[in-house]
Symmetry: C2
Subunit: 702 residues, 2 copies
């Protein structure tokens, strides 16, 4: 199938007209391949079958890739209007596994195959015309019109692979191999696997935005991880090697399985990999369009949960700590194996890009130095749940490509399979699936004492907390400075020789003030009552990264990535101790501070008056108390009897500042006249709260 030889275009080199032609060619090759794939389905009726009972019928995927092109081009403003609004609606959503609920609600009137075929051709013509007419400047980047074109092509590449898996689940009698007849005939009964040492190293992952190849948004960024020495299996785990696990009753023994895995295994009543067919104590193997006798030397195609159970079983059996590699360990394998980028090879060095087989092949077929199948043959599960690299930014034209998978439940697969083309065949490609999901994916095991540091870096979606994150770390709004920065200015103005002093922040919220103050103070204790609010601060201190989702317009969202280093706050953050604690019931150890900041605390606690009457105990003589409040007491939090002001007493109005003075004057002198800090709180793109806190500064009497 060399005629499809589909390589993602170089976005920098060449002349615009060469590039235009190259992209047009790339578009047609991909479209042709996609069309050929569906030629394996013999009759129209089969298009309406569900390959998987939780997925749409094949007809959906047949229409989907073309409809995606049009929807994205309309969104990008490159097409003035839809071509077939009805098709572009029904073929738009539902790529993934659905829940039972969604299926019950579903009541689609699918168009005929010929209608969809015609539609596909109209789309093909439309896009080809656009490719010929759109302005093209090099390099092509995120903002280029051609980014949308390539996005559509790469999207089609993905679906060529995922639809091949769906087709693999249709009855063979409904299929014909067509152009996909070049299945690998080789086999041998046993290939003895072995562990090969890999020297540890620092691995830098993620690609820069000026990288010459198209990437999905989650491929960009830069993330350095230190990989310890480890050993990796020379081959992917073959069906033969995996069969030992089955023979050892691995599918019946809970001890090898994770909780998630066991739950899946018992629910599915699984006894062997999905594409194995057991007949009379022998096994057949299901390939895309046909059954063959079990190919024992082909890689075992399993989901992550099965692979993990195998590793646990094999660890016990061998006395070695075995697991799958992390994403960085896979990159280390790529490095030591000197694997070339797809665009740099003449012939694929592995079973990939449809350049060799239309099936997988024995695990000892394609060597890369000491290892086999570092790329190609089947994808390889990693231990790493997917997330964006620090600094991740959503591509605005496909804002839900990545973020829905950043949930700790989707593990990364690497390396590509025999049918992976275009972006899928590049080294930066990082796709992920739910751990119970089937694709053309196998695994390699590694031996390592290093417990993988699994970071999920999921997004703060708790609306109140995310609002606080944006208030602390996000943009400036309405031309007003952020509250924590305004408080920092107060600290700079009123605290002398701060570098020798200890600061207590009694309402640290998501922590910006603490991070800022850490550069000026010897020690910062930052307390918040709420675990919800302090958690992001702790994550930021630990990982240097904070992610949250804020409201845009209506139901639309904006995803935000904050890096401590971008804020130049990564040098002194170890001086901060973040603690979830109740500012009104402080443990004894919180004492001997030189400065206490209590911003907007009085309105959040049950007994503000009592708090003020005791706070001097935490402060060194001559220490400063910086008190700020909106005085927006809520009766749900504190009864009016406990308020410090803002009510009438004996018929006369008591302002809070007077109430504060009254309580504090015993132990404090007032350092300045009270003044106001005014600052915005973003609720959505068109809705802000602007609060004004009155600040008073008090010096503890000597």
């Amino acid at each position: 199938m060399k005629e499809f030889n589909i390589k993602t275009p170089h976005l920098i080199d060449g002349t615009p007209e060469e590039k235009r032609q190259e992209i047009l060619d790339y578009f047609h090759r991909t479209f042709d391949l996609d069309t050929e794939l569906y030629e394996t389905v013999k009759d129209d009726a089969t298009f309406y079958m569900r390959a998987d009972h939780l997925r749409h019928p094949i007809i959906f995927y047949y229409g989907h890739t073309s409809c995606f092109f049009i929807n994205k081009l309309v969104l990008a403003g490159l097409l003035p209007s839809h071509i077939n609004p009805s098709f572009e609606s029904i073929f738009a959503i539902g790529v993934d596994e659905m829940s039972w609920d969604d299926l019950n609600k579903e009541n689609y009137a699918w168009p005929s195959v010929s209608e969809v075929r015609e539609y596909r051709e109209v789309v093909r013509t439309t896009i080809a015309k656009l490719i010929e007419e759109l302005p093209l400047e090099l390099p092509i980047n995120w903002e280029s019109p051609f980014w949308t074109i390539i996005m559509g092509i790469e999207h089609q590449n993905i679906h060529i692979e995922t639809s091949s898996v769906l087709i693999r689940q249709l009855p063979v009698e409904k299929l014909q191999s067509g152009l996909f007849s070049n299945i690998c005939k080789e086999d041998e009964p046993v290939i003895a696997n072995e562990l090969v040492a890999v020297e540890g190293s620092e691995v830098n992952m993620g690609k820069p935005h000026n990288h010459p190849l198209y990437g999905w948004d989650l491929e960009y960024g830069s993330f350095l991880e230190t990989v310890d020495d480890f050993k990796a299996s020379k081959y992917l785990v073959s069906n033969a090697e995996f069969f030992e696990f089955i023979e050892n009753d691995g599918y019946k023994d809970k001890q090898w399985w994770t909780e998630e895995g066991w739950s899946w295994c018992t629910y599915k009543k699984a006894e062997h990999p999905q594409f194995w067919i057991k007949e009379n104590e022998t096994y057949k193997l299901r390939l895309m369009t046909e059954f063959v006798p079990m190919k024992w030397s082909f890689p075992a195609e399993i989901n992550y949960l099965e692979a993990k159970a195998f590793c646990n079983w094999k660890s016990a059996k061998t006395g070695k700590k075995l697991r799958m590699p992390t994403e960085s360990e896979w990159y280390r394998l790529v490095e030591v194996s000197q694997v070339k980028e797809a665009t740099d090879w003449d012939v694929a060095p592995g079973n990939i890009n449809l350049e060799h087989y239309s099936s997988s092949c024995p695990v000892n077929t394609f060597s890369f130095g000491d290892f086999y199948d570092v790329i190609g043959n089947v994808w390889q599960w990693t231990e790493t749940p997917i997330t964006g690299y620090p600094g991740f930014k959503v591509h605005p034209l496909y804002d839900d490509f990545s973020t829905p998978t950043f949930d700790g439940k989707h593990n990364i697969i690497k390396g590509g399979s025999w049918i992976s083309t275009g972006n899928e065949a590049t080294l930066h490609a990082r796709y992920s699936f739910r751990r119970h999901f089937y694709q053309h994916v196998g695994f390699r095991y590694v031996e390592s004492n290093h417990e993988p540091d699994i970071r999920v870096d999921s997004y703060v979606t708790d609306e109140e907390v995310a609002i606080s994150c944006e208030q602390n770390y996000g943009e400036s709004y309405l031309g007003m400075s952020k509250l924590p920065l305004q408080v920092l200015d107060i600290l700079k103005k009123y605290v002398e020789n701060s570098s020798g002093k200890r600061l207590l922040d009694l309402n640290c919220d998501t922590g910006r003030l603490a991070f800022e103050a850490a550069s000026h103070f010897k020690e910062v204790t930052a307390i918040d009552t709420s675990a919800r609010f302090i958690q992001p601060a702790i994550e930021l201190q630990k990982n240097g990264l904070l992610r949250y989702v804020i409201k845009d317009e209506g139901e639309l969202s904006i995803f935000k990535d904050v890096l401590l280093k971008d804020l130049k706050l990564n040098d002194n953050h170890s001086r901060i101790q973040f603690m979830q604690d109740d500012a009104t019931k402080l443990k004894d150890r919180y004492t001997n501070y030189d400065v206490i900041v209590a911003m907007n605390l009085l309105e959040e606690i049950r007994k503000p008056k009592e708090f003020l009457s005791k706070i001097h105990q935490r402060l060194n003589a001559d220490g400063l108390l910086i008190l700020g409040s909106t005085y927006e007491y809520k009766e749900s939090v504190s009864q009016i009897d406990n308020w410090i002001g803002g009510f009438k007493k004996d018929g006369e109005p008591i302002r809070s500042i007077d109430g504060i003075s009254q309580v504090l004057s015993e132990h404090f002198t007032q350092e300045s006249n009270p003044f106001n800090l005014t600052y915005p709180v973003r609720k959505s793109s068109r809705h802000f709260e602007v609060m004004s806190s009155e600040v008073s500064i008090w010096r503890r009497k000597m």
Copy 2:
């Protein structure tokens, strides 16, 4: 009792040192009089009796006036601290009639009389010292320290009178007349009353802030009312004249009473005025400290409800339309009677200021031209519920003196009584009581065909509506222009020849844009769905005045008065038609407009999409639609299916502006690129919302 001759000081004339001495003298005279009043109570035990079962015992009032002085001086910052915090709390609140609930909760440990007496003397010494030491500049105005001093003195003057009424309700055997023994002995059986014509005129009420006499906040302002010709009774209604009503079974006949009056009459089982004592078919009259045989020529002292029933009965009997005078008619009587201001007389021209009697006297004793007792003898009920004059401002040191009575339930009394001194004896004095309340108050009746135009002008207290009032008519905040003024600027920019055009404002809220637009357009129709919101606009159009209460800090409030004329919006407001109506179900008559403004409407209606698809029907060809929205749809208002944008459709984000374009493009062309209006909404003194509305402008196709 000439030794008390208590006249409120002139605040402008004289030298500071003369004035200081005059005020010191005024203070001591008032304090002495107050002290003498309580000398009428024979023994200490009586101080703990309740004269009225819904009022505090006498001891409260004995302590209250001194405590008031201290509390106000502390509030004003003229005293550094309280003298006796306990006294200044228990004697602070509870002047007025309480509800049963309050009394049940009450559990006061009242101090002894001698303790209170000592406290009073400490206060007297403290204040005298303050009067000698405080800076004094002339003129004395609202901001002067001496305003607080005079406020305390005038407050004491009020309580001298109101306590005299409470003492009048104590058992006579517990009392002695002391200095108040000069009761009027005169009487005669019948004084034939008659109606005397008064020529109508314009009457200007309210005094300016530079007036030379102290006034309570509700005396200030300027309010012009046209008084029609009327006739007024020559005398106040005497006990003899009122007795005819009793003899005619007036207290038993519901037809003469207002609903409120009959409710009171039956609840109290009233058969005659409160201070009449019926014994063996004869009547005695209770004076302050003693009983006397009925004084038939003294003015009948009744509450408003009894007076009103009398007028209704007498109207029926005489065939004349009789009622009490309005406040302006009383002023007209003052004018035609050429009554002098208290500070301008050598000897009081009426039974007032304790200059003649310590009781009332026959209604034919003091003549003022054609009429008797225009001032003095007893106060006179008016038909007018009290409210501030337009432009009313609360005095910050006594912010609940007036506003709690602006409820339509408190009627004004005018003219003063035999014991009215200081401010009470001035022509601008305007006190009010609940209509069922007893004081030294009688009445005069007038004959008039003019139905009094009773304006309550109560405060908008509905929080949401008041927030809108402030957004429309209040101050500017955060350096941002108000939304309606920003929209006006758009109208000015985009609408040519507006003076011949018709404008439809589809979400007029509390109406500012409509008032502004009225100066530019031929006709303005201003619609709002909510009666709550449009009501203030309608009131403003009718009366030129709008009152509302906004949140300050905590539970504290700020009272606001808005005058159409201050905003220079009083010339063209008749061009506006305010209508409560549903913008999504517009009646047929709302059509042929040249300009339609729909600001922040889409987010408030159930079916924004449907609304947009029909709005062209209301607009002339070439007419403009000005559309603005925050797109802050709420699922409680409209289901997401009806939204115009802000959601994903077929997986792609639909922004509202695109949804709008899609619907409107059939009948409209877009006049400009969409732009944002950003504006503040004040929630409290320290809390604002800042909203950003996207505005798009559309021209209806010809």
